[in-house]
Symmetry: C2
């Protein structure tokens, strides 16, 4: 792990599969997770503990967590909308539990049906549940600061409020917070400014990750700002599938293949083998024949001499 400069957190099995119509079989999901772990991906968000009636695509999350935690050296992450989901995550042994905290209260009501006050309560409840569990030393609790860069419903989000809520989450006992550009509104100047402000308030070690979207084609430009300001965990989705189904017009995670290519070409080590990653893409495409996968590197191919240059 220490040989990596940047940790890629693959969110396709959760953020990707929750946003598309196709339902992938549990066996195909396991094969995807296994193959992508073997390609060198250090962390995979394998699902979300939401009610199956809301997101039937993710109904097998418990089984996937149990499966994925058996893969050596893989950090297994899950999303939870509330305490109930967090308890299931703890029971199944997930390594990282992320609760989305949407800074747009309108979006929060649509996404997890909770006011800000209710989400803040739930942070405390989850901190308590983890501290009472046997897995407490192996469980990281992250609060994901959703719509931090603006909201399709509310528009601009006050940055001082984002910083204050980041501090609140840490004060209540969350291990870390992460910035999330749920709506694809972020620009590099804002990534830099908001990250610095949060780091100043809570310390850089309490926020190492960012979840960027490519909705307006700005994903990798924002990654450049994130790298410059010292963030080291980057979320992305194989084939760019996903986005948030409850934020109108917001689609398109950063494409893992294009992101890994960027980082490796720059000489930053991700631990991921580019050829193996492209093979995982082909494998996933076969299991999702109705879905369009995004990204440029897979279509254009690797540059001549690319391996030699990055070796």
């Amino acid at each position: 792990m220490s040989t990596r400069d940047i940790e890629i957190s693959e969110v396709g099995p959760r953020d990707g599969l929750q946003s598309i119509d196709s339902i992938m079989s549990t066996a195909d999901k396991k094969a995807w997770i296994k193959a992508q772990a073997e390609a060198g991906t250090p962390e995979i968000e394998v699902g979300s503990f939401v009610p199956a009636k809301l997101l039937p695509q993710l109904a097998d999350t418990a089984e996937l967590v149990e499966y994925a935690t058996g893969i050596p050296d893989l950090n297994v992450a899950v999303l939870v909308p509330n305490l109930f989901g967090a308890k299931r995550a703890i029971e199944t042994g997930a390594h990282k539990i992320t609760l989305p905290f949407s800074l747009s209260e309108t979006h929060s009501m649509k996404n997890v049906r909770r006011t800000h006050a209710q989400v803040i309560d739930e942070i405390s409840n989850i901190v308590a549940a983890i501290s009472e569990s046997e897995n407490r030393d192996n469980t990281v609790f992250e609060v994901g600061l959703s719509t931090a860069f603006g909201c399709t419903l509310e528009g601009a989000i006050d940055e001082d409020f984002v910083v204050a809520m980041a501090a609140k989450a840490i004060e209540l006992g969350a291990d870390e917070v992460g910035l999330s550009d749920t709506t694809g509104y972020a620009n590099p100047t804002q990534v830099t400014r908001l990250t610095k402000a949060i780091h100043h308030e809570i310390g850089a070690d309490k926020m190492t990750g960012i979840h960027l979207h490519n909705t307006r084609g700005q994903g990798l430009a924002n990654v450049m700002a994130a790298l410059e300001v010292g963030l080291t965990t980057l979320d992305s989705s194989l084939g760019g599938i996903g986005g948030c189904p409850f934020a109108p017009g917001a689609s398109g995670n950063i494409v893992t293949e294009d992101l890994v290519f960027l980082l490796e070409a720059m000489g930053l080590k991700t631990g991921i083998d580019m050829d193996k990653l492209l093979a995982v893409r082909e494998q996933v495409q076969k299991t999702l024949p109705e879905e369009e996968l995004y990204g440029f590197v897979a279509a254009a191919g690797l540059p001549k001499d690319f391996e030699a240059a990055s070796a």
Copy 2:
């Protein structure tokens, strides 16, 4: 002009139209150039003085230069493959004349059918032709360093050679050189390193521009490096059409709409009105019904409150 932080050089009418099957009528090209100039674009590459039998799409370049030079405050650029083309550019009154100098000799032979020695001779010949013309004080001669970041045919290009040829072009009397990622091989680290090396050799004022491609989705990440290292003229193509027809697999200029959105969102002034630019895109799409336009901002729309944020 002085209120701009970054100069966008629109290459769609040349680089875009030379790469697609459709032939746009001269009237439609004029309407495009006029509309994009009125949207605030400071420079447009309107065509290329190549033999009509090679690129019939650009056979009306002389008429377009004469038309475009009548538009107030518009810098009119053209590409020329040789002295013959340069003389036509001078006669028609183009403000900026760019000669591509491919650092890959294999690509140079395919693209302009000339060895490096022959291109170097042609640089001297064009410098002489301009200095003898009445338009010499109003004509900028740029040597475009093509395949500077690598070649699909030759692979890696020696960076010391790129720097040496940049110096050679300036020594022979070119006004400036520009870096060109013809093949979409560039990464941000390389953009920074190569730009610094060239600036160190010839001075930053002799290279202010870069022509980046989005072949592997890295275009705007590379723009971030270009901005950081002080480059101020960025080439892009409306709808991302274009690329080089003689470099296999290399397609996709940076999308002007997505680039302007990036810069304006970051607070950098381009002088371009985003809404007017998106209207130009619709106008051009109507004249190219068979062609796919690329880009994310046009599809996703501007963020809520975007105008207020950038005003």
